[in-house]
Structures are given as C-alpha cells and as structure tokens.
C-alpha cells in the first residue's frame, strides 16, 4: 500500500508500504501529474521484491 497518513498506517501494520507527503484524497499523486503517479506506484510495487514485513519506506513526494 501507499499512504499519506503515517499514524494510521503504523496502526494497521501493513506488510509493505510507502509513505508520502501527498494530500488526503490524492494518495497516488497530484491530479494530472502522471509522472509522479507512476513513480509512487512503481516505488510501492518494487517493495514486493523483498520479503515482508518491511519497515515503512518514505518517498520524497508531495
């Protein structure tokens, strides 16, 4: 999963997750910014290459 909400994400303990500083309601990226949206998706799916559980991975996306 990917999320902008660190607190709630920690609470539900997902096996793999990326975190961003994007806004509520725009989890994958800013509207119309296809490059950013693809980066967030790719970075999140890339976590599958590692056994879970993984520590949360912070992405520099806002």
């Amino acid at each position: 999963m990917t999320s902008w909400n660190v607190g709630k994400t920690v609470g539900v303990a997902p096996p793999r997750a990326t975190m961003t500083r994007l806004s509520r309601g725009a989890t994958i990226g800013n509207p119309g910014d296809n490059a950013q949206q693809r980066r967030v998706i790719a970075a999140t799916l890339a976590l599958l290459a590692h056994p879970a559980p993984l520590a949360l991975v912070m992405l520099d996306e806002k």
């Binding site: 999963m1 990917t2 999320s3 909400n5 709630k8 920690v10 609470g11 539900v12 303990a13 997902p14 096996p15 793999r16 806004s23 509520r24 309601g25 725009a26 989890t27 994958i28 990226g29 800013n30 509207p31 119309g32 296809n34 949206q37 693809r38 998706i41 790719a42 999140t44 799916l45 890339a46 599958l48 290459a49 590692h50 056994p51 879970a52 559980p53």
Partner: protein
Amino acid sequence: MDAVFPTCDTWLESYRERWLTHYQDTGTIDWTLYPALKLNTTPAGLAVDVTQANVLLITSAGGYVPDIHEPFDAANDLGDYSIRLIDTHHGPSAYRFAHDHYDHTAVDADPQVLVPVSHLLEMKDEGVIGELAPQVVSFMGYQPDLGRVVDEMIPEIVQVARDLRVDAAFLVPS
C-alpha cells in the same frame, strides 16, 4: 479473527461501550471516544517477482460505476462494509465516488489519484507487472466498526483475491 486482530474483543468492547453508545444515545459522533487501533503483528510474506505477478488493485475511495453498481451508503454514520467489483475495462473516467469523508477535488479532477487503473494497465503492457487482475475491489473506507471489517469485508475481499488467483494486492486508501 484473533490471528488478524488479536485485540479485537477488547477493542470492540470499548467501541461499543463508548463511541457507539454515545452515538445511539445522542445521534452525534464524538471521535474523542473512539478507541485507538494498534495492531501488534505485521503479516509476513515471501518476496514476489512483480514482473510475473497478477496484481489486484484495491481502493477505499468509494468508487463505483453508475448504471452498474449501487453507490455506497456514504451518509451512513455507522459506515458501509460492502464491496464493489469493477471490471478494469472501465477507465478511471467511468468512476464516481460515494464517500463523504475526504475532499473530492483531486479525484474529480483526475480519478487516477485514487484509482490508478490506467497506469497499472500501462505497466502491464510495459512488463513492469505481470498482470492486472481483471476486477478492481472497491469499498468506502469510512467503517468505524472494525469488527465488521474483519468479519464481513475482509473475508469477502480475500475470497475475491483467491478467485482471481492474485499474487499481490495494491491497496490505495483515500
């Protein structure tokens, strides 16, 4: 349920005695009475070769396709625990969103910010992922009763994942 949510009974007791009772008595919601959730166990899983994987997209944004699905009961203070299965041939522009608990400005401008189905189909064509499961699982993530989430919704989603033979799920919360 204990394997998923080991403190569920304690959590439910607090939820029912405090948050739910207050709502039933007053008709108003007081989030200061809502019990915090902190799971103690993180699910383990083997590594997955995403280039060979069948990936299931799950969104909690309340997405549905008018004329095919009933909208979620977005106005229900007690939540909606049902799911919709949306064929991936419906592009993002086909979606509408029944969820009263986030600002829809971004998703109305570009539905892929919460339902990135076109991006994932492109990634399949490019070989980044093996397959995109042919249906998106959609639910409305305002669900205060976690007991119903665990007992009703999650088993339904797990069954969908088994039926579609997916290797991984990509959850996009709103």
